[in-house]
Each structure stands twice: as C-alpha cells, then as structure tokens.
Symmetry: D2
C-alpha cells in the first residue's frame, strides 16, 4: 500500500448512503489520479461490494467480526471481504471496539489471506500493545478529539510523534496513521512531519459541501 | 409482500460469498419467475447493495442496528438499507439477537420508512411479545432445531400452529413464517398446512449441491 | 410483595459503596418499620449478599445474566441470587438492557425459583410486550427522564396511566411501578393516583444529603 | 502479593453459591495457614463483600467493568471492589473478554487505586500485548484446554515457558500464572519449574469431592 495515504471512513452518514456513496468514491478516485496521492475509502458495510466492484482505488471494510464462514447471520468475515475485492479492513474503530483476542486473531488471519489490517487505537499504551500483533497499519485517534474541530495534529502532536517512535521499535513494518479532527491539507502536512504515513478521516470529507475541493486540498498537503 | 414466501438466508457461508452470492440470487429469481412462487433472499451484509441492484426479487438485509445515520463505523441503518433498494430486514435472528427496546424501535421505524420487518423469535412467549410491535412478519425458529436435519414442521408442528393462532389474535396483520431444519417441498407444504405463510431457511439451499433443484422442489411444495 | 413499594436502586454511586451501602440499607429498614411502607433496595452487585444477610427488608439484585450455574466467570445466576436471600431481581434496566429471549427465559425461571421479577421498560409498546411474560412487576422508565429533575409523574403522567391500563388487560397479576426523576412524596402520591403500585428510584435517595428525610417524605406520600 | 500463589476462581458453580462459598473460603484459608502457601480466591460477584469481610486470605473480584462510579445499574467498579476489601480483580477472563482499550484503562486505574491486576490471556501474542500495560499478573490459559482433563503444563508446556520468557523482557515486574486443566500438586510443581509463579484454577477445587485434600496437594506441589 503506497503511502502517504488518505483513508476516508464513510461511517454511516446520510450523505454517503446509496448512490451518493459511489459518487464520492469516484471523486476520491479522480483526485487520486490527478494528484498521484493514494486515497482509499471505507464505505458503509452494506455498500462494500457494490462500490468495490466499480472503482479501482483501494477499498476497506469498516469492520470485521472474528468469525469463520458458516452460520453468523448479519456478521462479516475476512473471507467475505476478500471476495468483494476490498483490500483490507479497519479493525477496532472507536465506534466498534473489539476484544483483544479477536484483534489478534483477525490481524493474524489478514496476513494469511493477504488483506491489509488497519487497527485503530485510542492512546499510546494501546498502540504499543497492538504493535505486538504486527498489523500493517495502526491508526491512532484520541477519542475525545474524534468528530471535533481541532485536528489531533494540533491538539496533541505528541501522541502522533510518540506513537510513530515506539511503533518503529516494536514493529518496524507497521505504519502509523493518525486521525480525529483532521480536515485539511495543513493537518495532513503536519501529520507527515510528525512521522505519520497518512490520515484516517471521516466527516471532514463526507459532510463537506464540496468534497472534491477538500480532497484536493488534503492531497496537496500530502505531497 | 406476496405469500407464501420462501425466504433464503445466505448467512455467511463460503458458498455464497463474492460472485457466487449473485449467481444464487439469479437462480432464486429464475425459479421464482418459472413457478410464480415468491422467493426472497437475505445476502451477506457486505454484498447487500451489490446484489440488490442486479435482481428484481425481494432482497432483505440480514441485520440492522438500532442507530441513526451519522457516526457508527461498521454499523447498518434502516436508511442505508432502504437506499440499496432492499425491501426490508431480518431482525433479531438467533445468531444476532437484539435488545427488546431496539426491536421495538426498529419495527416502528420500518413502518415509517416503508420497509418490511421480519422479526425472528425462539418460542411462543417471545412471539407473543414481539406481536405487540405489529411487525410484518414473525419467523419462529426453535434454536435447538436450527441447522439440524429435522424440519420444525416435523419436530414441533405445534409451535407453528400455536404461533399462527396466537399471533392472529394479537396482531392480525402479522404473518408467520417458520424455520429451522426446513429443507424441501414436503416441509414447506406442511408449514402452510399448519397456517404459516412461508419459510425461512438457509443451509438447505445455500449448501445444496444443486440449489435450483432444491428451490424448485420448495416452490412446488408452496403452490 | 406488599405494595405500594419504594424500590431504591443503589446503582454504582460512590455514596453507597462499602459500608455506606449497609448504612443506607439500615436507614431504609428503619423508615419502613416506622412508617409501615414497604421499602426495598437493590444494592451494588458485589455487595448483594453482604447487605442481604444483615437486613430484613426485601433486597433485589440489580441485574442477572441468562446463564446456568457452571462456567461463567463474572456472571450472575438466579440460583446465586436466591442463595443470598435476596427476594428477586431487576431485569433489563435501561443501563443494562437484555435481549428479548433472555428476558423471557429469566422471568420464567424466576417463577420456578420463587424469585420476584421486576422488568424495566422504556415505553408503552415494550411494556405490553414484556407483559406477555407475566412478570411480577413492570417498572416503566422513559429513558429521557432518567436522572433528570422532573418526575415522570409530572413530565409524562399518561405513560404511567396507560401502562397501568394496558398491563391490567394483558397480565392482570403484573403490578406497575414507575420511575425516572422521582424524588419526593408528592411524586409517589401522584404515581399511586395514576394507578402505579410504587416507584423505582435511585439518585433521589442515594445522593440525598439526608436520605432518611427523603425516605420519610416518600413513605408519607405512599400512605 | 507473595508467590507462588494458588488462585481459586469460583466461577458460578452451584457448589460455591451461598454459604458454601464461605465454607470453601475458610478451607482455603486453613490450608494456606497450615502450609504457608499463598492461596487466594475469586468468589461469585454477588458474594464478594460477604466473603471478603469474613476471611483474611486475598480475595479477588472475578470481573470489573471499565466504568466510573455513578449510573451503571448492575455494573462493577474498581472503587466498589476496593471498598469490599478485595485486593484486586481478574480482568479479561476467557468467559468475560474485554475490549483492549478497557483492559488498558482498568490496569492503569488498578495502579492508582492500589489494586492487583490479573489479566487473563489466551496465547503468546495476546500476553505480549497485555504486558505493555504492565499488569501485576498475566494468567495465560489456552481456551481449548479450559475445563478439560489435561493440564496446560502437560498439554502445552511451551506456552508457559515462552510466556514467562517474553513477559520478563517486556514487563519484568509482571508475574505469570498459568491455568486450564490444572488439578493437582504435580501440575503446579511443573508450572513453577516452567517459570510460572502460580496457577489459576477453578473446577479442580470447586467441584472436588474433598476440596481440602486437593488444596493440600496443590500447596505441597507449590512448596
């Protein structure tokens, strides 16, 4: 996965449901092509395959259950995600926290299946713990800043810098993203200066009046 | 929703992930057209929109969360389901049980949004309780028979007959489906004789060597 | 269980942990004896047996899991509750909602074990559903009023009156309590006028500067 | 906390509910005094304070929620546990797994409150992750061996040896316990030879015909 990366989490906003989710995906794809910056998306669960089959930028699942194919009505497996052509999955997002044994098992299975694991964490200690599983990405997001107006890169630059530093020691191949309040090119530029290899963001793009402009500004900051 | 109905729950079997889920959906559609029997499907969550946009038989979500559009990474809203053109959702499946206040709220919201609610229950008492919410369908499935070899219509015909009877008194517009072990035309014929307006089944179709044959046999039983 | 009843839910407030929980229990007992009004308590889970063995007014568990004795580290069984001499349990409190099949199973098992079931509900529809299980008590508490300053008896008297009315038709032996914002004798008097047989309250007593005074006022309202 | 330690998890077996739980606690205490080996217990949640006030050997909670004192009917706080005179708590038992952020927060808060944290883990990778939080104890229990007849020390001695080794590097002050299938003095002797500082066990004691004999045999193995 080429970095720096801008990973857009659609969450379950009205603004991205149905055909609007696909429209936003196409805008992400166009801006990515135009700027050369890697932009990835995590659409609503029920739109995953619908969108993944129609675009060529990387698509992630927002969530996965630690469950094998079989029974499990309403659940989602890594095998199912892979079959949609999605490239990986968010794991343990603050809105969908997982048990530690489940995170470990999912990250391990991602490696077997060739899927990219992006484990979300809330602080330095949890990032260090998760680093023991050697995921592809750790996305650190202080919960108190999620959905807020101040970017983590301004509100708590140390958490980004320190996460990058300690993860490098524990799991050198794991890349660090940061998130929470990230909204523009300035924020992502700062994130990269702090050592992150990209950002995870949501409302800054999905609820923007003009998502294309926001994405172009973000991409500019990432170059 | 025309009845009798054969509602095929895909669960998360390997046999229905990726493009194979769409193939099975097309077979269901063909058998439905050929026989005139209403066949509906509940695909994997992540395949919902992908499949729903490509076929014309009724598509249901396997699950929904009692959550509003907005934050909620990895969750599923009724609004999101409606935007995929799915016609409704399973609620409270035995593999994804819900809290009672959530069931009530989801059923109420289904009515507002014009979605069909299919609430799964495990016994007569719970069916009676759920009937108070006036869902479109109650699908009674004794948990000990789910995934087994003996159809609920043979193993416990009384639960079907009694559920039909008591639901008629409490909520006359609610239709009763039955499930657990249902596998062939004989089973669905018996279900209809017992007063049910259809069946909910999974492995009998999804894991069949020849799903078309199984579906045609089921449809024959439903006529 | 004699009614009207004042059922004091200790929740997990600092004010009632350790020996202070027992002190409050003794005050409840003294006021009950003095006034002749039935006052019951639901202490912290970990204090249940400690308090139950030392007082003679009715003690309830705050919660129970739908699980059999055996494995289940950290869980609570009805059999375990009964062995502490507690007389029953709250079920499905708004801070600890249960799945519908679990509520049904717990209420049924309460009858077998001779324990008193107090099922909490959030609105009229859920109360009607729960009435199908014929619990001993239904305690209706509109969630938006819990912990607030305005008593449900003032903010939404109709929900109390209507719950009493519909429950009487469905399950004549089930008694109705109301809760949320209940704080003084005036509130409980109103509750009884609306047809309730008592109140469920928490912070109004547990966080009171002088719990004895509050309890005496409540008891006065209940006479 | 003196080691080696024999930590008896009561779970929710019928054999330890009510007064029988106290009886077993007294036997543990007598054997501990007689042999000089540290024996600790984790009683049923609802019996915690009842037992803790009556005995002097260390008492642990079986579980704790990551929640502050206040609202939270049916939950358990560290503050509440401390007020019962219990010395600490099991965290993340295989029958009550926690989210990773909750484990981190609970372990951190245990240190602030002077409580002993015993975090249960299922394999080497999860043990390493948890070691990042520097708990007082890590109790590794391969889930497939829990409740079985073969002790982890025979079935998988390497997991014990390797856990001890890696934890020593990551968090030198964290002590390792092992569990699953542990039943007699021979098992605990082997555990100590493998580097563990004690065992966590349940049915081997709680369901024994003669718990005193079993405990004496265990204590002998620990000397």
């Amino acid at each position: 996965m080429k970095t720096p990366i801008i990973l857009v989490n659609y969450k379950i906003y009205n603004e991205i449901s149905g055909s609007r989710g696909l429209e936003l995906a196409k805008i992400c794809q166009e801006v990515s092509k135009k700027t050369g910056v890697n932009i990835a998306i995590a659409p609503q669960m029920i739109d995953l395959f619908y969108i993944a089959e129609k675009i060529s930028i990387p698509v992630f699942s927002q969530h996965v259950d630690n469950i094998k194919p079989g029974s499990g009505t309403g659940k989602t497996t890594l095998e199912g995600i892979r079959a949609t052509k999605a490239v990986g999955t968010l794991i343990n997002h603050s809105e969908n926290r997982l048990k530690i044994a489940d995170i470990e098992n999912i990250v391990t299975k991602c490696k077997e299946l060739g899927l990219i694991s992006v484990v979300c964490t809330n602080n330095l200690a949890v990032s260090k713990a998760v680093a023991m599983f050697n995921p592809d990405f750790i996305a650190v997001e202080p919960p108190e800043l999620i959905g807020g107006d101040i970017s983590v890169t301004d509100a708590d630059p140390d958490i980004v810098k320190n996460t990058v530093k300690v993860i490098r020691d524990i799991s050198p191949k794991t890349k660090v993203l940061c998130g929470a309040g990230v909204k523009n090119g300035k924020d992502i530029k700062k994130a990269i200066e702090l050592g992150a290899e990209g950002v995870l963001l949501a409302s800054g793009v999905t609820k923007a009046k003009n998502p294309r402009e926001v994405l172009e500004d973000l991409a500019k900051g990432a170059i």
